[in-house]
Symmetry: C2
Subunit: 555 residues, 2 copies
């Protein structure tokens, strides 16, 4: 019988921020029993994924081995950790474990897709252990920017792994459990073979600040405001929503929650008991009856999302409310790199209305949900792992985290998506590379990132499109004239004649010139016409469009 | 005879950063003689302007009044100030004035487009005045991030306007003229009716730092490097290139210039005498013969441009040179908002190669070319204008700059693109609003932003495209089957049958069902089929594609 081993392999989240999916396994090589930690998504952009609805890790490796999958564990309810669950739950067929708040959100998502919510089982925190094949797994409460985040204590016959999840060190997180160094020390006492650890903020040199530290600044800001106050943050940052709402409430303002996601999160937090005190809220209609200085809106859309409440307020009105001169708009959030343009668009829209905009440039109105560099060092020291394996980061974050760990005297391994590490007694070694990638949810269909679908869309967006139709009779002679229709192209170029006429004349000329062999061959004729059409367009308008040639033969 | 007046109207650059174009006029209302200050471009993005090559202000207002245009003045050679010149020089037909370095660059651009370089005349600095109709204009040297930047002193019968251009306060700018408060005071002595002033850095609270202050830090960094050193900055930042090259040279490294734009800028600076000392450079081939630690590359592409040298080095090799573990890559630049994703892509590419990346997070390796908030206040105080008119900024920048000026005791006016201000003795008043907008250079054609061309491209990118062809005989009966071709769509949806077959069957069904009136009416038939095809696609794949329907009738 072959030697058994403990393996770790990220399928998503290592080498990118987003779509987390980490596999652990224990057993004989190739026959390990598996668990999956998190199943997240990331969001498309016009740049590289136009028209796509969601981006998910390619789970085919795991789906092909679903008979070996014991369970799925979800560390917290952020989309990049739970957003893929509804799309793969059926194909994976394993039970899912999460803490109550996370389970509440996950079940809601499953229900939206017509899946049975009971797939998700509610787990208590450490020291409760859940058995999953050769593994015993416990949820270790951590503080983050959403309620009931957890790290995982993963025990196997080969020893213990601590999977940090997304976490920060916060002694006073407002909602949820504080960072508890004694608890981490207790978990680590018997020795930890590997610490698989969040890398997001490895480049942030200062120790992280506490959520509680914001209250004073936010209260002062809100208390000093004259008109309506609007604040935006992540819908899932329940602690921040509480801080903001309490600041408004203390300033004599009634609170309105704007945005479905925000109401859903507050509801889940109340249902699961993680949020016990939250100021009473009123509806938009009720707010319209009040003087502006007695209203505070909490709005979704801190990242500039165009359909969210903040963007709609910046453009015009939302649920009857229009912002105006004298109002104050607070971004209690950080702009995620890549979202700057959309956020700035909102700021300028607000500026045009005369609304005062306060963002987090000063650092007074937002704290991050991730452990900064010194916080990571502190956790390494508490856990004293045999090896540090950075996760949840782009390549540069993972690399820097490896260096940080090594500088602290720990072994460390850089494992990007698809790298299978064996976590042995003597350290980690790479035992396999698995092909990984991305799946796109496109409308209602899952497509592969390399299927060419999105590539064709990008080409049409860059080059425009021409449809050319041609009808040939039974002797391969043209019936009527060729016909062109364009989409996304200038009407006319240097000749100042309509582009379609220029192209049709060129095609007619080329067909007249073509020899019988070409005319009889659909593929050859199509290629020839496409080439001439693109060249003619290049001469006329300076662009080579995408071309669909349709040859109909009357027989 | 009607009262004469002095007017100011931005056509671009006020309410956005980029594509600067400012009109001044003096004369009877509606018959003012005009001058134009700057004629810049801005750059397209996949988000909103896919496939577009350049974005320029809509100059039609001025072109329609070209008989009243006396001259064009270019303050400096950045693309957002000079990039539109070659595209409109012919249509505007006026002489262009610029200082020597700017003229050198502008002439090069005109030549590329087959235009006569002599359109651009070289001007000396203040106190030399250029007469342009009722105006006398002088170039006031300012420091910025490109050689020979200038503000403009614009005299008219109604008094003096100071147009700041892009500027910073730098007593030791390395290349070009230092900020000279005595010169500004001299210019302002007789009274300044209006200061039209750069707003870019109005949100930066600290006084700006000097270019010269970077040398020590950069030298220390380069001196401490082991492998090859690569530094990127804007190609036009000749002072920075000099600082970087000298740091390399002092550390015993030979300098290689990577990127056409960078070589062009250095060449222009040498030709026009603004750059007198620059370390000798070697070619890439020569660099390949040297040990890595004796080479320093200066590379274009600090904003992540995919075809520039930096991006190519991050992806693979450039001119035979491959980066490797132990090399150091310095971003001596700030990432312009919106470019974060592209810059981060390069950083991760370098991280994968094991290259050490140093960016400007610490503020040690870059200074801005624009005046910060306290610097703006200082200039207001020196110039003591009748009114401050912020320019070169998004709406939020202009608004904040107005507030800053007012807080300092000055009148101020917020004038976005298209706002025509009369600059009277008693202050500024809005006398007209002109329709402004954007023109796109698309391939070789100028198209309007609202022509719908780009909108169609975005729709194809988001929704994919279907071509449907249908041939009807003289009695409106279908000949053969309908034919669909898709581009940018999944091959199959929920039925798992090929999407085109599903769509073709649907169309056949709808044609069979259609009444004679519809079948005889091309437009009605097209609309009906398009509607059914989109609905069927929605059911099948969850997307409603763009559709081109081509109906051929055999008669």
């Amino acid at each position: 019988m072959s030697r058994e081993r403990l393996i770790y392999m990220p399928l998503g989240g290592a080498g990118e921020i987003g779509m987390n999916a980490y596999v652990y396994g224990y057993g004989a090589p190739g026959a390990e029993r598996l668990i999956l930690v998190d199943l997240g998504v990331t969001f498309p952009e016009m740049d590289g994924t136009p028209g796509v609805d969601l981006i998910m890790p390619d789970m085919s490796w795991l789906i092909e081995r679903k008979d070996r999958l014991e369970a799925v564990f979800i560390t917290h309810a952020h989309e990049d950790h739970v957003g893929g669950l509804a799309h793969f739950a059926h194909a994976l067929g394993a039970p899912v474990h999460a803490r109550a708040f996370t389970a509440n959100i996950a079940r809601g998502k499953l229900a939206e897709y017509g899946l049975a919510p009971e797939i998700v089982q509610v787990a208590g925190p450490w020291p409760q252990m859940i058995t999953a094949g050769p593994f015993s797994v416990a949820f270790l409460p951590v503080s983050h920017s959403i309620p009931e985040s957890a790290g995982l204590v993963i025990d196997s016959p080969a020893g213990r792994v601590v999977h940090s999840g997304d976490f920060k060190i916060d002694p006073t997180p407002i909602v949820g459990e504080a960072f508890d160094p004694a608890l981490w020390a207790e978990v680590a006492r018997g020795g930890v073979r590997a610490l698989v650890c969040d890398s997001t903020n490895v480049f942030s040199p200062e120790p992280g600040r506490s959520e509680a530290g914001l209250a004073t600044e936010i209260e002062a800001l809100v208390a000093g405001a004259g008109g309506m106050v609007i604040a935006t943050t992540f819908a899932s940052n329940v602690a921040r929503l509480k801080t903001l709402a309490e600041a408004g409430s203390r300033a004599g303002r009634s609170i309105v929650l704007f945005g479905r996601a925000m109401r859903r999160m507050i509801e889940a937090a109340v249902e699961t008991g993680v949020l016990t005190e939250f100021p009473p809220t009123i509806s938009a209609e009720e707010a319209l009856e009040l003087p502006r200085e007695q209203v505070m809106l909490l709005a979704t859309g801190s990242q500039g999302e165009r359909r969210a409440a903040s963007a709609q307020l910046a453009r015009g009105k939302y649920r009857g409310i229009t912002l105006e001169e004298g109002d104050l708009f607070l971004f209690s959030s950080r702009t995620i790199p890549g979202n700057e343009r959309d956020v700035i668009r909102i700021m300028n829209g607000l500026s045009e209305k005369g609304v005062e905009v306060v963002d987090d440039d000063s650092g007074r109105y937002h704290v991050s949900g991730h452990a900064n560099r010194p916080d990571l060092e502190r956790v390494h020291q508490i856990v004293q792992p045999g090896i540090v394996i950075p996760m949840h980061g782009e390549h540069r974050h993972l690399r820097e985290h490896v260096r940080l760990a090594e500088a602290g005297g720990f072994a460390a391994a850089l494992a990007v998506n698809g790298t299978m590490l064996e976590l042995g007694e003597g350290g980690a070694k790479t035992v396999d590379y698995v092909e990984t990638g991305r799946s796109y949810l496109d409308g209602s269909v899952l497509i592969g990132a390399l299927d060419g679908v999105v590539r064709d869309r990008i080409r049409m967006a860059l080059n425009g499109h021409v449809t050319l139709t041609l009808i040939l009779d039974e002797r391969d002679a043209m019936l009527g004239d060729p016909w062109c229709e364009t989409m996304g192209l200038a009407d006319a170029g240097i000749s100042r004649k309509p582009l379609v006429e220029v192209l049709e004349a060129e095609i007619a000329r080329q067909v007249a010139r073509a020899d019988r062999k070409i005319l009889a061959d659909d593929d050859g004729l199509r290629d020839m016409l496409q080439r001439h059409l693109r060249q003619k367009a290049q001469n006329e308008i300076g662009k080579k469009p995408e071309v669909t040639v349709i040859i109909s033969r009357m027989r």
